[in-house]
Amino acid sequence: MITSTCKNLTFETIEPWAGLKRAVELGQAGIIREVTDSGIKGRGGAGFPTGVKWNLCAAAKDPLKYIICNADEGEPGTFKDRVILTDFADLVFEGMIIAAMAINAPEGILYLRGEYTYLREGLEAQLLALRVNKKLGKNACGLEGFDFNIQIRMGSGAYVCGEETALIESLEGHRGEPRNRPPYPVNTGFDGHPTAVNNVESLAWISCILSKGSSWFSQHGTEKSTGLKLFSVSGDCDNPGVYELPLGITVAELLVEVGGSNAKAVQIGGASGCCVPAAEFDRKIAYEDIPTGGSVIVFGPGRDMLDVAQNFLEFMVEESCGQCTPCRYGNPTLLEGVQMLREGKCSAAYLNELVSLGGTIQIASKCGLGQSSANAFLSIVEHFKEELMGRTVGTV
């Protein structure tokens, strides 16, 4: 009943555990080289090169290291990780084992968002099977001296915990408030130990990269954004669901694929992403142009963009951890501004002030959530001023 539409995914064609087998042959340095060569960047949205992350973590000197799978998928419009964890969880666990070999970590944690509690039972069963098959445990995968275990820990309904340092805070039993970086988790992570935090999708791709080779992966996409990516598509289109597409695809091409060509705008990257108007549909979805964790929300011709701005701001006001002022006070002020626009009571001068406040939130907030919390509002104001200003109550 809850299955999302998804067709022709590479994940379906991957031979189970072939990636792991190759990883065993390659050894620690070989795995990191293969991952680095593939050019894969974090699929959660921040886009940090996975190979670099692992290299830093592998270099850290500490007998206790952690590999954490970030399954706190909370970005509005994203659901690809749910699909992966439902249908391809073994690829994720395989990716975690490969990561553990690469950085030499004895402990793995899957941090699953509280909203996905219904996935836990199935995942625990799969982990149990892996322990029985000796893929996990002492001398895991038949490798002398390689001890690795994975446990599942649950979130409790906080969007900000998808930010890696907030996630670690939460695991440590604290409020999910992001930390200052540096130090980075690769040096000082969970309980002070070096920790690599990777997105669910990144880890699944790692298994594919090891299985099919780095050049297979990097032949897709652009030079700076290699590889394939899963997109969660929703909103006003004929075929919402999960799509596997190469990075570098234009918004227009994606819309053809999903049956949303008459869209007036598309939100790429969820509440923290940006709103792309029809005039800019030739832009590329890639780290160098429009970066994204995969959330694509299509707005048909009839949508009121002020509703969109309001919904996203309400989301940010609710989910801000409240730790730093620009995000805590700035977003409610923007939301009040939206209300003024709705009532047709916002002067052009005040709207400019709101835009400037948005800029302040972007540069003065501590974490990724804060820095990107005003993005949706700002891009909607930039592109849809005509629609927002001079409203008479009750219109639109």
Binding site: I2, S4, D81, G157, R175, S232, S234, V242, F315
Partner: protein, 174 residues
Amino acid sequence: MNLMTQQERLRGELEELVERLGTERNALMPILQEVQRKYYRIDDYSIQVIADLLDIHPVEVHAVVSFYSFLDFKPKGRFVIRLCRTLCCDMAGKDRVARQLCNDLGIQFGETTPDGKFTLEYANCIGMCDQGPAMLVNDHVYTRVTPEMVNKIIESCRQVFGLHATQQPMEHKS
């Protein structure tokens, strides 16, 4: 004969829980999640006992409970209904589902029915954006909810009471 007070019994249960999950600070979230699941709330007394067992100040525990939207000081209903209010579900018509939920339960969002059976809340994006409007009833997810379905879902929850069943509603076939 010594009668055990309710607090003494609760303390015993919490001690067992902490023994099972650990006295390290990093065991706090699993402990609180379990307390919430079992008692539908995390009250002041539990906070004090957990703080003592973990050897931290109770305000540390309080701060954590207040941060997470799935942890609560106030008692929640046996069934917590969380309707997604984020954009895609909103665009798919969550307002009408919300209205019907209020009508059928006789409460507003943020409230619990007087019989303690249902709590009605909004949730932020629950990852069902392609199948909205969506909602969680405890750990069970319902997608493409229509106002008409609301009553059936609530009734399937009600059937659980009186049986020795768990707190999971029956699978709803749409």
